[in-house]
């Protein structure tokens, strides 16, 4: 089991290392962080798929189904709804970013609204939401290695960290893009094999679902509103995460982005099957200490040893790919939007990327358990508060940057307070409607923008009409 695992990780490490030798030099952030915007339809498909469906997804979604049943399928609903939204906004964003040389969403917001402050707010939010997400990938890798039978030591975390640093310096975004192909093929293999073997060994799907308590098998009326708002809020949030933007902007044309809105839905069928592994773990009588361990325990119990090693390697590599993209995306934000002055180069970005990964590692090594997961929950709520700046920008609406910053601040405060008030739960009841805090906070954010923005919109339009930035409009 261990031999297969180590061999696969070593192969992948080497692929990531040599990936940087192809293409241009890594001196500019565009080459290092966006691979020169050269990826075609297929590589973009693998990269976004490899990046959005993280190790944490592979563990946490079935873990949620294992613990909470049908409610965990909100994840499948939200990713399904994410792609129509992706189709509406991302090709536009790609085109504007290409024209103006934007590398991050904050670049776009900063240029469109002519406000460094707004750019900083968007960048700060993106970094704040991403660092705990990187930490969760490291936790996913740790869970996979623990399932191999290597108890509680911190060396797997340091090894993963070291590998990410080497990739970062040698290849930039090309490392995770090359490895994503291997990762996705491995994950598909695991899912196909799991579907071929496990249901049969457990007596078929009907038998598996018969073992699930009736209340977990289907949503209860009290869960409807929470389920729907979480799905909608998460669909909006995922598009705003820096690692998704980075993958989109590295595409070679607008068409590549458009086509992928259709093709990427294929991953959602796979995600649905991965979610179903949670029910299989229940039916197999797996007793997981934490719900994240349900899938590794199920796989090691049901699969022959060498293939269990393959499955665990798929999970670990599934953490490395997104962690690498996230670190690059967050470092690009930091270098281009938070550091003063132009001329921020790839060398600076690499050092910042190293620092952010160290922060994520520190989170895992010294943070209290649960702290990261709470932070990740808050990250989703926070990243949603950048929606008005991005959406209004892409629609070509003239809103004063100060108004957007006020809305952002109100949304950040509201969302954080709501989550805190509920003991770090994602739902908050408003007039008896128990909905996703991120959406409530976004409503406050938009209300503030509408309240102080509309009276001044006309004035702002006349003031900024003469700026050099071309104004994007939806066709």
């Amino acid at each position: 089991m261990t031999a297969v695992f180590v061999t696969l990780v070593a192969v992948v490490a080497a692929v990531g290392f040599v990936a940087g030798r192809r293409g241009g030099k890594l001196d500019s952030i565009e080459e290092w962080g966006l691979a020169g915007r050269r990826f075609g339809t297929l590589i973009t498909w693998f990269l976004i798929g490899g990046d959005a469906y993280t190790a944490y997804t592979l563990l946490a979604v079935p873990g949620l189904v294992y613990g909470a049943g049908a409610n965990g399928f909100f994840a499948v609903v939200y990713v399904t709804l994410a792609y129509p939204l992706f189709y509406l906004v991302m090709p536009r964003l790609w085109e504007v970013a290409k024209r103006h040389g934007h590398v991050t969403l904050a670049d776009f917001a900063q240029a469109h609204f002519s406000s460094a402050g707004l750019g900083k707010a968007v960048a700060f939010t993106g970094i704040l939401a991403t660092v705990p997400y990187i930490a969760l990938q490291l936790v996913g890798i740790e869970v996979a290695i623990q399932a191999l039978g290597y108890g509680n030591s911190s060396w797997p975390l340091w090894a993963a960290f070291g590998l990410l640093v080497v990739w970062d310096y040698a290849s930039g975004l090309r490392a995770p893009a090359s490895v994503a192909v291997i990762k996705d093929v491995m994950v598909f293999t695991v899912v196909i094999a799991a579907m071929a073997i496990i249901p049969q060994r457990l007596g078929g799907f009907a038998h598996i679902l018969a073992a699930v308590p009736a209340k977990m098998l289907v949503l209860q009326p009290g869960q409807y509103f929470g389920f729907a708002t979480l799905a909608l809020g998460s669909a909006l949030a995922i598009l705003l995460y820096p690692h998704i933007t980075t993958s989109v902007l590295s595409a070679s044309s607008q068409r590549v982005v458009e086509r992928n809105a259709v093709y990427l839905q294929a991953y959602n069928l796979v995600l649905g099957l991965i979610a179903a592994l949670g029910f299989m773990a229940l039916a197999a009588g797996v007793h997981a200490g934490s719900s994240n361990e349900a899938v590794p325990l199920l796989l090691t119990r049901m699969m022959p040893g060498w293939f269990a090693g393959f499955c665990l390697a798929a999970i670990a590599i599934g953490g490395l790919v997104p962690a690498a993209v996230m670190a690059i995306a967050a470092a690009s934000l930091f270098t281009r939007n938070l550091l003063k002055g132009r001329g921020a180069d790839a060398a600076t970005a690499k050092r910042i990327s190293l620092g952010l990964k160290l922060a994520a590692l520190a989170f895992v090594l010294w943070g209290r358990p649960g702290f990261m997961i709470n932070f990740q929950l808050l990250g989703g709520i926070w990243i949603l508060q950048t929606l008005p700046a991005v959406l209004f920008g892409l629609m070509g609406w003239r809103v004063r940057a100060g108004v957007l910053i006020a809305g952002w601040a109100a949304g950040m405060a509201t969302g954080t307070a709501m989550a805190w008030w509920q003991g770090m739960g994602s739902l908050f009841p408003v007039f008896g409607w128990n909905g996703y805090s991120g959406l409530w906070a976004l409503a406050v954010n938009l209300a503030v923008v509408a309240g102080c923005g509309l009276p001044t919109a006309a004035g702002a339009a006349s003031r900024t009409a003469g700026t050099a930035q071309a104004q994007p409009r939806l066709p």
Binding site: A70, Y83, P84, L88, L219, F225, Q254, R255, V262, Q265
Partner: protein
């Protein structure tokens, strides 16, 4: 054509429509068939919108 992209949102966010066990098929509740089915339908709708929007514009 773009309005068609709103259809999956109505179909999937109106939860009472599909949060039910029956009709079950192969022992799997309706809820799961519906959710999986809409992954395919959403992709199909999106493909149609893509075709219609860009037919005649050529490669860019």
């Amino acid at each position: 054509m773009r309005w068609m992209l709103g259809v999956p949102f109505v179909a999937l966010l109106w939860v009472p429509l599909y949060a039910r066990v029956r009709p079950a098929w192969l022992g799997i509740p309706f809820f799961y068939w519906y959710v999986f089915g809409w992954v395919g339908v959403t992709a199909a709708i999106n493909a149609v919108v893509y075709r219609k929007t860009f037919s005649g514009k050529g490669e860019r």
